[in-house]
């Protein structure tokens, strides 16, 4: 193989990598920028800090990726997390064992998610409307359970958010397990392929005899499971349940998934891409505080990064399409 062929092959691999993870260059640019402004930014301690702070978003966004892949959406995720947190506070006050509370939370949110999925799958009402309604219901129940008060939680239910394992915070371990499990299920199992097929072409999925209703119920249940685990990590980190907890968090979760390259029309997206999106969002917040930016600059910078990331994320795909048109590359699935 000549040197020229090797360079062309390498360039092709780089283009494919960038097409799969278009946010990486934006992330690298941000890391360089923040490191110049604040040398502490690029340190092992701060890397752990960013991973810890991203953990809740990583977990919730992993579940949302499944939903968005089916061209669905779950606007109730933030409210579900609040309800789960309120459930923790209320059941502890009711005298339930902390271990039992921790085990019951994911069960509760799976049921809530499956409820969303059942309504979406059986009524044909758009997921946005269904989950907008359940958002109100879940937040209302949570508010009723806590009586809209700030409740401080004991350490006994903060296991997943406090402390570390082998020097890495438990929250990061939990997030890593959820992300890897989500990626495995989506990429390596028949269920994952069915989810992608359903999102790509629902009619074809029906005609092919896929259990569409069951798939929809399952993906919303997965989003519920993720929300439950995320809420356990969150109350572990925060140590309290407060009335405005997770208000609007669903939009951050959806942003992470879309930034990660998923299409809101369904059929395209990956858990790995979502993880990069979540880490990018968290890096921006972390870097802005560390760099000592004025609070007024935060929104401007956040918006600018989002815009650059969204425009930039499409650039590699356009380059790829352009190179295909020239016939220089083998066909690659976008």
């Amino acid at each position: 193989m000549s040197a020229k062929t090797s360079v062309i092959a390498l360039a092709g691999r780089v283009r494919r990598f960038l097409a799969a993870f278009p946010l990486i260059p934006v992330g690298v640019l941000l890391i360089v920028l923040f490191s110049i402004i604040q040398p502490n930014f690029f340190s092992a301690a701060n890397l752990v800090n960013v991973l810890t702070q991203a953990s809740v978003l990583l977990i919730a966004a992993t579940g949302m990726t499944f939903v968005i892949l089916t061209a669905g959406i779950d606007l109730s995720v933030g409210a579900m997390m609040f309800l789960a947190s309120a459930f923790v506070a209320a059941t502890l006050e009711g005298g339930l064992w902390p271990v039992l509370v921790i085990l019951l939370v994911p069960l509760l949110t799976v049921v809530l998610g499956a409820f969303n999925g059942t309504v979406v799958a059986t009524t044909g009402v758009p997921a946005m409307l269904v989950t907008l309604a359940t958002l109100q219901v879940f937040r209302g129940i949570g508010g009723h359970l806590t009586e809209q008060q700030s409740l401080v939680l004991p350490d006994s239910v903060r296991f997943l958010g406090l402390g570390d394992l082998a020097g890495i915070p438990r929250a990061v371990w939990v997030a890593a397990v959820v992300v890897f499990a989500g990626a495995y299920v989506l990429k390596r199992t028949r269920f994952g392929r069915h989810v992608q097929a359903l999102g790509s072409n629902p009619s074809a999925a029906w005609n092919a005899g896929l259990p569409v209703r069951g798939l929809l119920i399952t993906v919303y249940a997965i989003a519920g499971l993720s929300a439950g685990i995320a809420s356990l990590v969150q109350v572990g980190r925060l140590g309290a349940v407060q009335p405005t907890l997770d208000v609007g968090f669903e939009l951050t979760v959806i942003t992470a998934v879309v930034l990660g390259g998923a299409s809101l029309s369904g059929g395209y997206g990956s858990v790995a891409g979502t993880a990069v999106g979540a880490l990018l969002l968290t890096t921006v917040e972390n870097g802005l505080v560390l760099s000592g930016a004025s609070p007024y600059v935060f929104d401007i910078f956040r918006g600018a990064v989002l815009l650059i990331a969204i425009v930039g994320s499409d650039l590699p795909r356009r380059l790829l399409r352009a190179s295909r048109r020239k016939g220089g590359e083998a066909a690659i699935t976008p």
């Binding site: 044909g124 409307l129 925060l238 309290a240 907890l245 968090f249």
Partner: protein, 329 residues
Amino acid sequence: MKLMKTAAIVAAAATVLVLSACGTTQTGSSAGSTSDHLTIGVSFDLVNDIRNAELASLKAAAAKQGDKIVFVSADQDAQKQASQIQDLIQTKKVDAIVAIAVNNDQIASSIALANSSKVPFIAIDRAVSGNGKVTFQVTGDPVADGKVAAKEVLDAGGNPVIIQLVGALTDQNAVGRRDGFTAGIEAGGQKVSAQVPTDWDPTKALDGTANALQSNPKVNTIFIPSDYLLPSVQSALKAAGRLKPVGDPGHVFIVTIDGDPNGCKAIKDGLMDADVVTPVGTFGEQAIAAAHTANAGKAVTPATSQVAGFPLNQANLSTTESTVWGCTK
């Protein structure tokens, strides 16, 4: 089938709209009063500890007069608050509106509606702006509260390295507390090392505090503009191994504002140094009195009242706690 689907969509949309518009109503009343006993519509931006205390003070003052309270919460949604106040004025026919605005500018349309309907509009806790006529306004004094918090820091002496958490920048209370604290600290020859924006979001407060502690390990003082964010800051300090009791060499000096049950408990537990207490009981008494004055056809003078907070700290805990709403719950 298609008809059923359409009907389901319409029903779901209608449910959401109704839920959004209605929020939470605690005490119902079908019509305004005809005697000295008023029906007063109370619209809050949200419900939390301090709002519950403010509502309790309104209810207590109203009960003395034999008034009815119709309460709604907007869940921090300015549009929802406008709809709720419209409902209170036009459907419930209340005799007065007492409101804590979600947004001090966006409340203008509700003030205009109250003015055109000849219903007195009383703002409490958060100052409102706009062209309409506000019958009476009673608020805390956020700038003065910030200065009291700064004085607590300066009185502690030493060489403070200060993190300042900031609430939502659209909230006058948050901006006033920030400005008052900064001015007080600078007047004492010190400076704020870093500001942490929070939008009143507990998670942002947790992450922002962790980041600020990470970037500057010498931080030994934290100003929190509301007790609402105290658990987040304590969790960040705990995760960093820096949540030490008052008197411990590694203790981080903490001062907050509000005087809520968490703040009071933290001072009693020796984990926090000072809290600037908002005298919420005064809000209710003054607001209900103003509603009666206005309904009697008289002008409320003065039309604005600012009530500064007072400090609760380790030194005056035993003598002051009985006057702090968060300590008596």
